[in-house]
Amino acid sequence: MIEPFLLRALLASLMVGILLGLLSPLINFKGLAFLTHATFHALLFGTILGMIVLLLTGWSYSITLVSLFVTIVVVMGIAGLERKGFMPDSAVGIMASFVAGLTILGFGVLYSLMASKPYYPLSENIISYLTGEIFLVTLGDLTFLVVAGIVVVFIMLVFYRDFLYTSFDPEGIESLGGNVRFYLSLMYFLVGFVSALVVKSVGLITLQVIAVLPGAISARMSRDLREIVGLSLVLTILTMILSLLIAYPTGIPPSGIATLFLGAIYIATARRGVS
């Protein structure tokens, strides 16, 4: 009989694998790897802000929802700066450093609040958002992840071709009548939304690796778009499930195993392709 927490972790891993497996090739093709750094800062700030809200209001979903909101605001801010003519790395740099400053301020406020409410185990929560706590995913977390995840997968599949074409030639697509602004905004929104959605499962640090490496590895292994997306999906799901199965008996954090596993494959495929 499989333990309920393990079943929840497996289902969460599967959903995270599907989401990041689909997103990873887009992140690589559009050159959005740097954007995941901005989402890292946004998620960290959102998590701290969410913890402050939790301490003040006792609302249990505040961390998830506040970090989701902050990440989307930051990502859309980056998209807005790019539309105004900023280079992508400048836009990410400006927003990320601004949010990093706010995070430090947030830490100060959070620690003051924690001192006044020592019965909340929040110090553990900060670490769990950095490393991920897939074994601690609750039924509520899982339901939210699966329902929101299915909606995101549907949107991604519907617009996947348009995301690729817009990334290939935005000017050309605009001249052909395509709404490039909409496609790029939606793509950035999805990167932010998916990051916030899966962060509690995989953790902030691992998120960057799992969002980038499967797409990069797949692009080295194949020259066919469908194969690249398929490989990325298989690789991400496999990584998530394997790391969970290894982590369960050994007690090693699954996010660490996933990072090492993908890193090893990336190095092993280094002689292939150009990604």
């Binding site: 559009k30 599949l157 519907v158 990334s167 395509g178 778009l225």
Partner: protein, 262 residues
């Protein structure tokens, strides 16, 4: 019918004029070659006509209306170096793009008729057999022809081409020029082409405009491409040469190395 008409057109960037006082008229089916040094405003004018840039003074009409209202009739071919070739799209993928975006917002599946049309258009530009080849693996001339095919998929009435010959070797330039001539003769599409090298396109151009942040000259090739006009924009080394009935412009970067006698 007049395809493009500009009267005292001044294009602005952040309120400052980038291109001044342009007045010209281009009839349907005719080809205009835009010439000028780097920064002269060729691409700016093209992008304004294509409705990418909307900050301008004066009058600009495309088929009798504002450019943005006639976007369905316009196809724009960007410079191929601007494309993100990390994405492994096939030639057919690239051509099919041309027919999608005036129909719907998303494209989960593509109608087989579109693929058939795309193959026909590729055949028209002389590229049958490269459908499944990755775009990034094509030669420069082939890439440019694929982009032309994509532009033709939208059945445009006005084709705007930004430096279609740049970064191509002489053979590839001739290939692309031949396809442009075919488009003109078989499809009768109005074209505006920016170029640094007018020579491969000189037979194609009904009109030539010389730009240098303003309109220096506009008229038939033999009127515009005269020594004193060319020199006023490109400097004293520029000149025109007539070989038989054919006019050649020498306006590119000319390097003269002077060596002291040993």
């Amino acid at each position: 019918m007049t395809a493009v008409e500009a009267e005292k057109l001044t294009v602005l960037y952040d309120g400052k004029p980038a291109l001044n006082d342009i007045t010209f008229s281009l009839d349907e089916g005719k080809t205009l070659l835009l010439l000028g040094p780097n920064g002269a405003g060729k691409t700016t004018l093209l992008r304004t006509i294509a409705c990418f840039h909307r900050e301008y003074l004066g009058r600009l009409l495309v088929f009798g209306d504002e450019p943005c209202r006639k976007r369905d009739l316009i196809s724009y071919v960007p410079q191929s170096y601007k494309l993100n070739e990390r994405i492994p799209l096939t030639s057919l993928d690239v051509v099919v793009m041309g027919s999608l975006y005036r129909r719907s917002l998303f494209h989960l599946r593509i109608d087989k008729k579109m693929y058939k049309k795309a193959k026909n258009v590729l055949n028209f530009v002389g590229l049958s057999g490269v459908e499944k080849k990755l775009f990034r693996e094509l030669s420069g001339g082939q890439k440019q022809r694929v982009l032309l095919a994509r532009a033709l998929m939208a059945d445009p009435k006005l084709l705007l081409l930004d430096e279609p010959l740049s970064q191509l070797d002489p053979n590839a330039r001739a290939e692309v020029a031949a396809v442009l001539k075919k488009i003109k003769s078989k499809k009768g599409i109005t074209m505006i082409i920016t170029t640094h090298d007018v020579n491969p396109l000189i037979d194609l151009g009904d009109l030539v405009m010389l730009l240098n942040r303003r309109m220096v000259a506009f008229g038939r090739p033999e009127q515009v491409l005269q020594d004193f006009v060319i020199k006023s924009v490109y400097g004293p080394l520029a000149k025109t040469v007539k070989v038989g009935e054919r006019l050649y412009c020498i306006i590119g970067d000319t390097h003269i190395y002077q060596r002291d006698a040993p």
